[in-house]
Symmetry: C2
């Protein structure tokens, strides 16, 4: 038997990222993948702090192509963590530059 | 100028995953990587729903080795998203099996 306790913040985040993927993947066509339109909708709605900062209008097109490793024009869930990871790395690098010795508690 | 508004759930999760990495990476030694001890501490504390279900005591050792793509005995932040992604994929697959046509709203 596994003891049921309230989820940790990390567990909650993983569930939340799955839910947001499923929400956008379910908007049109095949429910388990993000089409180009669904990807754009996700990026503009869920990551406005990133998308509003982009001066290059082609950046989302190039991101979709880079993330779509099997080049089927859709992002499946196995391709999605690379997006979250890439954005997290970009943020993490800027945090390191801003506060190199700061510890989060 | 970029308009400042409250972060979305996805932005909040990305920040939270960065913060949790930094929290555990700062426990010993070099602050920007997870040592084996820090990785085990992270997994046991932040992902108990996963670790308590593992019957194989070697699973965390093998995960660390697999994630440590440059084999330096440390997980840096570029190696960390693969962990979150791998766990999310495992959860996502089980959600698909449990409710194949369910949409999250």
């Amino acid at each position: 038997m596994v003891e049921i306790s309230s989820p940790t913040e990390t567990e909650r985040c993983i569930k939340s990222l799955i839910a947001v993927f499923q929400k956008y993947a379910g908007k049109d066509g095949y429910n388990y993948t993000l089409s180009k339109m669904e990807f754009l909708s996700f990026m503009n709605t869920e990551l406005p702090a990133f998308t509003k900062n982009q001066k290059d209008p082609g950046v989302l097109d190039r991101m979709m192509k880079k993330l779509d490793t099997n080049s089927d024009g859709q992002l499946d869930f196995s391709e999605f963590p690379n997006l979250i990871g890439g954005l997290a790395m970009a943020c993490h690098d800027s945090f390191l530059k801003a506060a190199p010795s700061q510890k989060q508690t």
